[in-house]
Symmetry: C2
Subunit: 186 residues, 2 copies
């Protein structure tokens, strides 16, 4: 970097550049914006970053992001226990919640099976998903429907296939969806 760039500025450009989808030009633009923005704006961003790391945990039941041991959806007594929607990432929960078409529970895998990246089923929250299904069955209220909403990628499809096989016999039905309008049975 040119000698014209002073150290704290270079560090912020560098930190922004590490974010996904932020190239060096955007990182520069954001940095210079924050240099001139109202002090409250820059500090609010810094505080929000720290509190996201300090206050956010993963739900111990569904592994969605949470501010407590159980997330707001797992805590909500109004949701249907018999339906379980399986997604790759917390962002997927958000997208589905926004449609307002699903009133069941979630399970967040935190990724998809990808042998080429060394990600096997044991690296995802699959064991915990199977345990949830077993537990519900043992308590005499087996899961009615598991909805597999993994991404329409090779990895997402492979994960759905794998889960379909492992869940067979543990739950009443397994459905693969691309959108909440067009579900199809596996």
């Amino acid at each position: 970097m040119s000698t014209a760039v002073i150290e704290p500025v270079a560090r912020l450009i560098e930190a922004f550049s590490r974010l996904p989808g932020i190239g060096p030009k955007t990182a520069q633009r954001l940095t210079y914006h924050l240099l001139r923005a109202p002090d409250a704006e820059a500090r609010a961003l810094a505080r929000a970053l720290v509190s996201v790391r300090d206050e956010v945990v993963f739900c111990e039941r569904c592994f969605n992001i949470s501010d407590a041991p159980l997330c707001p959806i797992c805590r909500d007594p109004g949701r249907e226990d018999g339906r379980l929607c399986v997604v790759e990432e917390p962002l997927d929960v958000l997208a589905i919640e926004r449609t307002g078409e699903f009133r069941g529970r979630y399970h967040v895998l935190h990724g998809a099976i990808s042998p080429i990246d060394g990600i096997g089923p044991d690296r995802l929250r699959i064991r915990e998903l199977l345990a949830r299904a077993d537990e519900a069955a043992a308590e005499g209220r087996p899961v009615e429907e598991v909805i597999l909403a993994t991404n329409p990628t090779l990895e997402g499809e492979a994960t759905a296939m794998y889960l379909g096989e492992r869940l067979d016999g543990k739950v009443r039905s397994v459905t693969l969806i691309r959108s909440f309008q067009g579900r199809r049975a596996l």
Copy 2:
């Protein structure tokens, strides 16, 4: 925002969304990335933000960003005092420095004249630019060339025209450039 979004996450999405060129989708993506990124990455970004605000000031001579009363370029005894390049923003200094074609000094206006936005000459660092020219002349070493490198926008052109008139007689020559390859006299 959906009840599925917990408070610290919503705050970070909101803070990212305020940045220029960052839409709500990108803000969400960045937030979820930082939730799962190594702790050091998120904290480095937060620290860099705070130190940019705490440690960065504007150079009292050229108004470029600086970590001291005078910026590294104004402090550099190897630069040509007789050439002064006028730019709108600190980022422009960076871009010109990267070409390696200019070895003079800078003056950062911090914007361009834009009557529609209520930005008159008095809102920019124009008074200080004229004072620099006067001072150099009074000291018997008048500025040889002022290079106007404002942006090729209506506002940038209007600012260059205004500066050309105001600098006339105070400096030896005023040049308007679009790039350091193609300067033309005003």
